[in-house]
Each structure stands twice: as C-alpha cells, then as structure tokens.
C-alpha cells in the first residue's frame, strides 16, 4: 500500500507509531501528484518545496489539501479566478491555524468553480478537473478539485467549502465523505466570501471517522468571525465510536423522493440505502418539508445578492488584477472587473445587484428572506419527529463535460443540498454505491439539526458500517 492511499486516522496511527514521518507522507503525495495531476487536474498548484519544508518542521503532521479560496500564508489563493492570479496570501485563515495546532499541514491548492460559483468545476478560469472515475465527466463542484483529490488518492483528506452544496455534491460524484457543518460551526475568517449567510468550510475525506477528526480540529468559536457562537465542540471521533443504526429515527422527506428528472440509478441506490438502514434497525418516518419547492428560487436571490456585495472588494485597488487600459477610477473598476471575472461570476453579480437595487429589494431579497424563514421552520418541525433525514444528494451521478450548458439547468443540480444550507443545519454526503452500467459513485445525504454534528456523524458512520 502506498502512503498516499491512507486516510487521516491511518496516517495519524502510523506517525504515532513511528512507522513513517510527515516527510514520507509528503514525498508520497508529490509522487502521486506528478503521476496523476496531468490527467485529473485536482490541484491548481502544489508547492513541493514548501510542502517538504512544512513536513520537516512538523514531522508528526498530516498533510491536508486546501480548496483555493482559503488563505494560507505564503501560498496562492486564486479562487480559480483570473482576478486573483499571482496573489500570495499574507496571512492564515483561522481554519488553517486550527489545522496547524491540531497536527495538520496545508499542502496543495485544489481547483474549484470560480469564486465557488458552480456545480461542475467547469467555471474554473485556471484549469480543468476530471472525475477520477470517468475522465469524460466532471468532478462536481464547486469543491471539485478537493473531491477529485480525495477520490483519486491524491491527498489524505481535503478542505472544501459549501454554500449550496459545494462540498456534498462533488463528494457524491467522487466517492468521498463530505460534511457541511451547521452555519457558524466553523470560522470563515480568511476564507474568500461568496454568500455570507450561507458559507461554511468543511472536511472532504475517505471515511466518516476522518471527517469527525478533521471537523473537531476546524470547529469552534473564533473572535475574528462574529457568526461563530460559543457552543462547545464535542470530541466527535470518540462521540461517534459506538454509532449504531438500531433505534435511529430517520426521516424521509417526501418532497425529495417525488422529484421529476431524477436519474433512475440514483433512485435505485437511494431506495436501497433506505432499505438497508431499515434492515439494520433504523425506524423510518415519512416527513414533509412543504416549502422545498421554493428553495432554489430563494437561494438564487440570496446567494447572488450577497455575492454581489462581497465581490465589490475586487476593484483593482489593493490587490488582484488591475486593467492596464484604465485611465480614471471609473474605468479602473469597470475594466479590471470585466477582465478579471468569468461569465458565471459576472452573471451572479448582475443578478445580485438587480435584486438589491432600488425598487426591487423588497420584492426579491426581502421576500426571499421571509420564505427562507418558512424553509427553516419546515426543518425545525421535521427534526421534532426524527433524529436525521436521509435524501438523495444530487439528482444525477457525475455528468459529462459541457452537458449542462444552460446556467439555470446547472443550478437545478443542487436542489437536494440547497434547502438545508438555507436552514443553516448540518448535512453530509456519504458514498452509497455505484451506477450499474457507467460505474459512477453515488452518495446519499444525511441531514441533522443545527449543531447536531454528533448525531449527523453517528448516522453517517452507522451507514458506512452497514454498507461495508
């Protein structure tokens, strides 16, 4: 077995026993990177020298691949955008500091949809990432590079970020575990903002135990992010050690099983997953989330609105691309942004500016925030009856490059992950099987209430056990 095939737990065990050092791990990952990245494109950059130096200075640490929107001092942070090409971070995000103090080192920058806007990583302005299970297909997105790196054993584990499904959908497409923590559970200080009422950083790993270890390291109150409450972080790895399906109350939201356009194989795999949970002693309860049908519309108002405000910082003044053609301040803004941003980012900025503009604010943004309350209430009512919910993660397995041409069609690929993001609860994708003909991985989604990560991870681990 090669060291790059290890997960976090196995790597930590080997380091503790002195079987190998961090340098051995990093050298193995560099070999894998050189051998595989040309084909998969999981990484935008991998600074070999820096990774080796970090390993040498931290000989008992586990390397973690980082989505290219999280700041690590001395590393690029392009957000897969031309507007940030050449940028070098002057500081560490809080999640990176947390990694470092918990025995991890950040190695390699993973590709993504530009500014995390997309569901296929095709919106990256800086590189193509291919699905490790079929190079003719996308890895999902926006954390497609992170998912492909995990799925192709090009890392031990990775960090992704999730605004409306950007950890869970690529995890489903690339056969990994992906956890979107509850809103505020993990600090966003130093993480390039997309939609601030939704963004969360989370683990993408080879097992549920690894996700628990990594989440424990990431989570907690941060003075630099005012949305992180002072809620204690449980010791997830030991809290889930005795995970069992027996007696678990699993809600099946009927709206998620009545969707038209769901792939037949995804439906088969999800139904089978439900049956296996029941056979292992789970209690199945049909629940209803009656406002599910509004979630996509709410999301595509709120997320672009917040993005348009957040991306106003890219003005060519303090960092990022500045147009050589600018003559005055106005043309500096207009041209720098026009040259720097890709089409999907421009579309969302325009959409967001529109719904926030005078005369439209109440009808769109204001109204969307109220409908969001109704969506949140659906979840509160469902979680009064069940421990977790089980749903499909994405309506299809990984699709082919250029298969979803129209932006709105691409948006609809996130319909199962967006409602829980809007509700602020935690959710995860766990591998559930492969399609029969195309041999593509498919994940199912577990959802738990806000700050119920222990319950969520327990359900995921129990599921992982019965699928083994």
């Amino acid at each position: 077995m090669e060291l790059y095939e290890l997960g976090i737990k196995a790597a930590q065990d080997g380091l503790a026993k002195g079987e190998f050092t961090s340098t051995d791990l990093v050298e193995s990952l560099i070999r894998r990177y050189r051998e595989k990245n040309g084909e998969i494109g999981a990484y935008l950059t991998f600074d070999e020298e820096q990774a080796l130096a970090l390993a040498k200075a931290n000989p008992k640490s586990v390397p973690i691949a980082i989505k290219d929107l999280i700041n690590v001092a001395g590393q690029p942070c392009t957000c897969a955008s031309k507007i940030l090409q050449g940028y070098v971070s002057p500081y560490d995000a809080t999640v990176i500091r947390n990694l470092k103090t918990n025995g991890f080192i950040p190695c390699g920058r993973c590709n993504m949809d530009e500014f995390a806007m997309g569901s296929s990583t095709e919106n990256s302005a800086l590189g193509v990432t291919r699905n490790p299970f079929d190079p003719g297909r996308v890895p999902g997105g926006s954390s497609g590079g992170s998912a492909a790196a995990v799925g192709a054993d090009m890392c031990i584990a990775a960090l992704g970020s999730d605004t409306g499904g950007s950890i869970r959908q690529p995890a489903s497409f690339c056969n990994c575990v992906g956890v979107k923590p509850s809103y505020g559970r993990v600090s966003r200080y130093g993480v390039t903002a997309f939609a601030s009422s939704l963004d969360q950083v989370g683990p993408m790993t080879k097992s549920v135990d690894d996700a628990a270890i990594l989440l424990k390291a990431l989570a907690g109150r941060d003075e630099m992010d005012g949305t992180t409450p002072d809620v204690p972080v449980p010791d997830y790895p030991s809290a889930i050690a005795d995970a069992d399906m027996k007696g678990l109350k699993i809600g099946l939201p009927k709206e998620y099983f009545e969707v038209s356009g769901m792939d037949a194989e995804v439906k088969r795999i999800t139904d089978e997953a439900v049956r296996k949970c029941e056979a292992a002693g789970a209690e199945l309860v049909e629940v209803s989330l009656p406002h599910t049908g509004y979630a996509m519309a709410v999301y595509y108002i709120i997320a672009p609105a917040e993005a348009s405000a957040n991306l106003a910082r890219f003005d060519g003044v303090r960092y990022g691309h500045r147009s050589a053609a600018s003559r005055d301040v106005m043309s500096l803004y207009l041209k720098s942004r026009a040259e720097g941003f890709g089409p999907e980012v421009k579309r969302r900025i325009i959409m967001g500016t529109y719904v926030l503009s005078s005369g439209y604010y109440d009808a769109y943004y204001g109204r969307a925030q109220k409908v969001r309350t109704l969506i949140k209430r659906d979840f509160d009512e469902a979680f009064a009856k069940v421990d977790v919910m089980l749903t499909p993660c994405a309506p299809t397995p990984a699709f082919k490059f250029a298969e979803l041409q129209d932006p709105l069609t691409m948006y609809l690929n996130d319909l199962f992950t967006i409602p829980s993001s809007l509700a602020g609860v935690c959710a995860a994708s766990v591998p559930a099987g492969f399609t029969r003909e195309t041999k593509l991985p498919v994940g199912v989604q577990f959802i738990a209430g806000g700050y119920e990560e222990t319950t969520l991870l327990k359900a995921c681990k129990a599921f992982e056990r019965i699928m083994a």
Partner: protein
Amino acid sequence: MAGNKIDVAYVANLARLELTPEEQTLFQGQLEDIVKYVEKISEADIAGVAPMMHGRPLVNAFREDVVRPSMDREAALGNAPARVGDEFLLPKIVEGAES
C-alpha cells in the same frame, strides 16, 4: 413583481462591470430566464413571517476592544497592483486636482 424585466446593461454598470456587446446579449436572455424562475417566491404566503438574515442569528457578537498586532505594512502592500512608497497608487480621483 411578475413581468419585471431586468435591464442588464443598466445593472451591469451599477455593478461596475463593463460588458462586451456579446456578453450583454447572452446575459440578457439568461438572466431573464433566471429572474422568471426566482419569481416563483411570489406564490409563497409570507403574511406575518419575519425575515431570516442568517443561518444562526447572533446578536452583540463583540470581542474585547484591545489593541493587537496588525498586518505588517509590507505584507499588506505585497499584492498591490501599483504602489508608491508605503501607499497604493491609484489614478486621479478628485476632479481638477493634480494627478
């Protein structure tokens, strides 16, 4: 709000994005579709419903007001597109002033 028509050229200027004629035509059609789709929210009954601003609302999330080290000046200027001495260099902003 049904029937609202987005004027992409106008909104793009508000957002400080210069569009090519091709982008303008492409985005106009695409954004009309998206706007039409999101108008679905007008069907929801929101009477008496309070807006939800955040995934988990927190109030008075203050930290202690203490002086602490800030980013080194050179580090802060390290990614500047253009600089002069310890400052960011920009085109002239004030009308009539010497640039």
